[in-house]
C-alpha cells in the first residue's frame, strides 16, 4: 500500500512542479508526463500484486478532521485501477508529444490538473472511508472541470464546462445524502462498517437509488447524461480519452461498491438498471447516428457502452435474486470485462480523433474524407478501434458483450415469465444496440478516413509524429491481446467477481467459471483463425495473383460527366434513413433551401440534431427556475423604511407565533 501511495505522491508532486514551470513548455510537459508515467508504473505494480497474485496489499491510516480514514486496495479497486493507469499514462505520453501543436495556452495549469485528476482517481479507488471518498470524488470533478475548460476563450467550451460542473455537483449532492445515511446507520465513516449496517436511516432501496442517481450522473444514465457529449467533445482529445475511459468508470466503481454494501437486493433495482441501460444505449446510438461532430459521435458511444454495462449489472442483480450463480457470474464478468474493453477502445478512438484534429484542424464530418491515404497509421488504428467498439467478433468488446448475451441466455434456465422477459430484453436490446453501433461506427470511419476528401485542406493533412503513434499502437495491442487471451483473463476477473458476489451471498463454483470459459475459448480460437486467414489470404493474393492489377480508373459513376468529391455520401445523407425511422426521438433540425427554378443554381441541405433531452427537458427547466426567481428579487428594492418594516414584521411574527404558545 505504501508503494501505491508514494506513486500517487509522485504524480501530484510532478504535477505541481510542471505547474510551476508552466512558461517553459517542453520542460513542464516533460516533468508532468514523466511523473505521471512513473506514478502509473508504480501503481501498476501494486495493482498487479493484488489482482494477478491475489496478495493482500495491506491498509494505511490517514488522519482526517473527521477521524482516521483507512486506505486499502482490494481486488475490485485494483481491477478498476487498470483503466485509470492504462489511459492515464498513455494520454500523458500523447499530451507530451502533441504539446507543440498549440502554442497559445500555458501548459503549466494543464499538467497540474491532469496529474491531479489521475492521482485523485487512484486515491478514490484506494479510499475505504466515506469522507475521503467524497473528497477525492469532488477533487476529481474539479480537476476534470479545469481540464475541460483549458481552452476557455471559446464560448461553447465554457458552456460545456459549466454544464459539466453543475451536473457533477448535483450528482455529488446525491452522494452526500447517500454517505450521510450510510454513515448515520453504520455509526462510522469506514466502508467495512457499512457492510453489515442495519437499514435504520433509510431503506436499502433509497440507498440504492441514491447511489444510482449520484453515480449515474458521472456514468451517463439517460436523463443525467446531458453534460457528457459536450464535455467530451470540447475537451482536448487525450483529456476526453481519460474522462470517458477512466473517470466514467469511477461511476461504475462507486455503484458496485455501494451495491456490495447492501446485503439484500430487490428486483426493482435489477429492472431499473436493465431498462435504464437499454434506454441509455439505444438513445445514445440513435443520437450518435445523426451527429456531425466526430468527437460527439464518440462521446455518445461511451454513453451507449455505459448503457450496456448497466444492463449487465441489472442482470447480475436479478441473477442474485433468482439464485442463478452461472448467470450472475457471466453477467458480472461481462460487465467488468466490458468496462476494461470499453476504456481501451474509447481511449484509442479519442486519441485517433485527436490525431485527425491535428491533421485536418476540424472535427466536422462533413468536411473530412480520404484521410487514409495521408494518415495511414491513424486510419488503421481508428479502423480497428471502431470495429472493436462496435462489438464485432475478432476484437475485445465482442468478448464482453458475448458474456452479457450468455447471461441473458442462462436466464431461460429459470423458466419463469420474468426470466424470459429479462432474456428477451437482453437479447433484443443488445442485438439492436450491436447493429446500431456497427452502423454508427462504419459511418464514422467511412466518412473520416475513406473515399475522397470532401474539402481541400491547406496545408494537406500529414501523419502524426511517431511518438504520438506509440499510445495508439499500445492500445491496438491491448485490444488484440484482450480479445485473444480472454479465457485466461477470466481467472483474475473471476476472483473480482467472487469478491463482489460475496456480501450478497453468491458463491461461484468452478463449473460456473467453466460455463463461461468454454465459449470464450472457442471465440478466441475463431478470432485468431479469422485474423490469420485474412492476413494470409491477402498476402498470397498480393504476391502471386496480382500481376495484371490496374489502379488508375475512376470509381464506377454510371457515366456521370464530371464526378468530384462532392457527390460522395455526407454525414447528413448517411444518417438520413436512421433519422427518418427514429425522427420522434431525435427531432433533427432541417436547414436547406428548396431546389427551385428551371435550371436550379444553388441548393443546400443540412440536418442538425442537438441532444433532444437537453433541448426539451433541461433548458426549459432552467429557464423556468430563472423566471420564478426574478419576481422574488423585488425583496431588495432599496427603500429603507420597508427594510425596517421587514424587521418589525419578523419580530411581531415571532412574538405572536411563540408568545401565544408560551
Amino acid at each position: 500500500m505504501q508503494l501505491f501511495l508514494t506513486a500517487i505522491l509522485i504524480i501530484i508532486v510532478g504535477g505541481s512542479f510542471a505547474g510551476l514551470f508552466g512558461r517553459m513548455r517542453n520542460l513542464s510537459s516533460a516533468i508532468g508526463a514523466l511523473s505521471c508515467l512513473a506514478g502509473c508504473a508504480m501503481a501498476l505494480v501494486t495493482v498487479c500484486q493484488s489482482l494477478f497474485f491475489a496478495s493482500d496489499t495491506g491498509r494505511y491510516l490517514l488522519n482526517l478532521p473527521l477521524g482516521p480514514a483507512t486506505l486499502c486496495l482490494d481486488q475490485v479497486s485494483a481491477f478498476f485501477a487498470l483503466p485509470v493507469i492504462l489511459l492515464g499514462s498513455l494520454a500523458a505520453i500523447y499530451a507530451a508529444a502533441t504539446a507543440h501543436y498549440d502554442e497559445k495556452h500555458a501548459l503549466g495549469s494543464y499538467w497540474f490538473f491532469y496529474n491531479l485528476l489521475i492521482a485523485s482517481m487512484l486515491m478514490l479507488l484506494a479510499s475505504a472511508n466515506a469522507v475521503l471518498f467524497l473528497m477525492e470524488w469532488e477533487i476529481m470533478s474539479v480537476a476534470a472541470f479545469f481540464l475541460i475548460t483549458h481552452r476557455s476563450e471559446i464560448g461553447t467550451v465554457r458552456n460545456a464546462g459549466w454544464r459539466f460542473m453543475v451536473a457533477s455537483h448535483i450528482g455529488t449532492a446525491g452522494l452526500f445524502i447517500l454517505f450521510g445515511l450510510l454513515s448515520a446507520s453504520a455509526g462510522s465513516f469506514e466502508f467495512d462498517q457499512f457492510l453489515n449496517a442495519p437499514a435504520t436511516y433509510g431503506s436499502y432501496s433509497t440507498i440504492f437509488f441514491l447511489a444510482l442517481f449520484g453515480f449515474g450522473v458521472k456514468v451517463g444514465l439517460i436523463p443525467l447524461h446531458v453534460w457528457l457529449p459536450d464535455s467530451y467533445t470540447f475537451a482536448d482529445a487525450h483529456v476526453s480519452a481519460v474522462l470517458s475511459g477512466a473517470m466514467s468508470k469511477m461511476g461504475f466503481y462507486g455503484l458496485v461498491r455501494v451495491m456490495m454494501f447492501l446485503p439484500v437486493q430487490q428486483a426493482s433495482w435489477g429492472w431499473t438498471l436493465l431498462f435504464g441501460g437499454l434506454l441509455t444505449g439505444v438513445f445514445a446510438l440513435i443520437t450518435a447516428l445523426v451527429q456531425h461532430d466526430l468527437k460527439k459521435v464518440i462521446a455518445y458511444s461511451s454513453m451507449e457502452n455505459a448503457g450496456i454495462i448497466l444492463m449487465a449489472l441489472g442482470c447480475a442483480v436479478l441473477a442474485t435474486i433468482w439464485k442463478l450463480p452461472a448467470m450472475a457470474f457471466a453477467a458480472l464478468a461481462g460487465a467488468l470485462m466490458h468496462i476494461l474493453n470499453h476504456s481501451i477502445c474509447k481511449g484509442l478512438l479519442f486519441l485517433g480523433s485527436g490525431a485527425v484534429y491535428f491533421g485536418t484542424g476540424t472535427r466536422k464530418l462533413e468536411s473530412m474524407g480520404g484521410l487514409a491515404k495521408s494518415m495511414p497509421f491513424t486510419a488503421l488504428a481508428f479502423g480497428i478501434g471502431s470495429a472493436a467498439i462496435a462489438g464485432l467478433p475478432p476484437f475485445n468488446n465482442f468478448v464482453s458483450e458475448f458474456l452479457i448475451f450468455l447471461a441473458g441466455l442462462k436466464a431461460t434456465r429459470l423458466g419463469t415469465s420474468s426470466a424470459l422477459l429479462l432474456s428477451a430484453t437482453v437479447l433484443a436490446g443488445l442485438g439492436l444496440i450491436g447493429g446500431l453501433a456497427a452502423a454508427c461506427f462504419s459511418r464514422t470511419f467511412g466518412l473520416v478516413f475513406l473515399g475522397a476528401p470532401r474539402e481541400e485542406k491547406q496545408p494537406p493533412p500529414m501523419e502524426i509524429k511517431p511518438l504520438v503513434r506509440l499510445p495508439m499502437a499500445i492500445l491496438v495491442l491491448a485490444i488484440f491481446s484482450v480479445a485473444l487471451l480472454s479465457p485466461w483473463l477470466l481467472l483474475p476477473v473471476s476472483r473480482v467477481v467472487a469478491e463482489i458476489g460475496a456480501p450478497a451471498g453468491m458463491l461461484f463454483s468452478a463449473d460456473d467459471l467453466l460455463l463461461s470459459a468454454v465459449p470464450l475459448r472457442a471465440i478466441s480460437a475463431f478470432s485468431l483463425a479469422l485474423i490469420i486467414l485474412v492476413m494470409l489470404g491477402w498476402r498470397i493474393q498480393k504476391s502471386r495473383f496480382s500481376k495484371g492489377e490496374v489502379q488508375d480508373r475512376p470509381t464506377w459513376d454510371c457515366g456521370f460527366a464530371a464526378p468530384n468529391a462532392r457527390i460522395q455520401y455526407t454525414s447528413s445523407s448517411f444518417s438520413q434513413p436512421v433519422s427518418e425511422v427514429f425522427s420522434s426521438i431525435v427531432r433533427p433540425f432541417r436547414h436547406g433551401e428548396k431546389v427551385s427554378g428551371l435550371f436550379p443554381q444553388h441548393a443546400s441541405f443540412r440536418t442538425e440534431a442537438p441532444d433532444s433531452l437537453l433541448r426539451y427537458l433541461f433548458l426549459p427547466l432552467f429557464a423556468l427556475i430563472d423566471r420564478l426567481v426574478v419576481p422574488l428579487r423585488a425583496l431588495q428594492h432599496g427603500h429603507l423604511h420597508l427594510y425596517v418594516g421587514y424587521l418589525a414584521i419578523a419580530l411581531l411574527a415571532l412574538l405572536l407565533w411563540k408568545v401565544a404558545v408560551i
Binding site: 471559446i154 464560448g155 461553447t156 458552456n159 459549466w162 442538425e608 442537438p610 437537453l614 433541448r615 433548458l619 432552467f622 429557464a623 430563472d626 423566471r627 426567481v629 426574478v630 428579487r633 423585488a634 431588495q636 428594492h637 432599496g638 427603500h639 429603507l640 423604511h641 420597508l642 425596517v644 418594516g645 424587521l647 418589525a648 412574538l655 408568545v659 401565544a660
Partner: protein, 224 residues
C-alpha cells in the same frame, strides 16, 4: 412612576400626530427629560445611590439638551421645516398609535400572567414607545424624522428596562447611554452629509442600491 409613564405615552402620541419638525424635536427633548426623572422614581425615594443620580443627570443633559440642539442645527442647515405627506397621513398614524397601545397592552397582560412586576403601566408604555418608534421609522419620509423615530425607540427600550426593574451596575448603564448618544450623534453628522450630497432629506429616494434590475438571462445554448 405610572404618571411619568402616562406622560410619556401622551408625548409620543402627540409626536405621531405632529407634522412640524420643530414640535417633534421639542417633544423628544421632553421625553428625554421624563426618562431622566423616571430613573430616579423607578427605584423609589428610599435608596438613591449617588451613581443613580449621576446617571439620570447625564441622561437628561444628553437626551434633552445636546441631541435636540444637534437635530435643530441639522434641521436649520438642511432647511427642511415640515414633514411633507408621509406614507400614511398624520391622522392615520395617530390611529395606528392608539392601536399599537392596545397591542402592547395585550402583550404585557399575556406576559405578566405568571410573574407580576412593579408597574405594568410603565411596561406597556415601554412597548408602546418601541412600536411607535418603529412606526415612525417606517412611515416617515424625512431622514430627520427617522432619527427621531429611532430616539423614541431607544426611550421605549429604556423605559421597559426601568419598568422591569432590571438594573445593572451604573458603569454598564452609563456605557449604554454613551453608546446611544454616540449613535445618534453620528446620525446627526450623516444628516449633514446627506443634506450636502442629495440636497434633500427624503430617505425614500435612497434606492440606488437594489437588485431589481437583474435581467433573467437564460443560459443560452450556443453551438459553434
Amino acid at each position: 412612576m405610572n404618571s411619568i409613564a402616562t406622560l410619556l405615552t401622551l408625548s409620543c402620541l402627540l409626536l405621531l400626530g405632529s407634522s412640524r419638525l420643530r414640535v417633534a424635536i421639542r417633544m423628544v427633548a421632553f421625553q428625554g427629560l421624563l426618562l431622566g426623572l423616571l430613573q430616579l422614581f423607578a427605584v423609589g425615594p428610599g435608596h438613591l445611590t449617588p451613581g443613580l443620580v449621576i446617571l439620570s443627570i447625564t441622561s437628561i443633559v444628553l437626551k434633552s439638551g445636546l441631541l435636540p440642539w444637534l437635530l435643530n442645527k441639522a434641521m436649520i442647515v438642511s432647511g427642511t421645516k415640515r414633514e411633507i405627506e408621509p406614507f400614511i397621513s398624520f391622522g392615520a398614524s395617530m390611529l395606528c398609535g392608539v392601536f399599537l397601545l392596545a397591542v402592547s397592552g395585550w402583550i404585557v397582560s399575556t406576559l405578566l400572567e405568571t410573574d407580576p412586576i412593579a408597574s405594568p403601566v410603565a411596561l406597556t408604555c415601554g412597548f408602546f414607545l418601541v412600536f411607535s418608534g418603529l412606526l415612525l421609522l417606517m412611515t416617515r419620509r424625512k431622514a430627520l424624522t427617522q432619527t427621531l423615530g429611532f430616539l423614541v425607540l431607544e426611550n421605549g427600550v429604556f423605559t421597559t428596562g426601568l419598568s422591569l426593574g432590571s438594573e445593572f451596575s451604573t458603569m454598564v448603564e452609563l456605557g449604554i447611554l454613551l453608546d446611544v448618544f454616540v449613535g445618534i450623534f453620528l446620525m446627526g453628522i450623516m444628516l449633514f452629509h446627506i443634506d450636502r450630497e442629495f440636497d434633500h432629506l427624503d430617505a425614500d429616494r435612497f434606492n440606488e442600491l437594489s437588485d431589481l434590475e437583474i435581467a433573467a438571462t437564460v443560459v443560452e445554448e450556443a453551438d459553434e
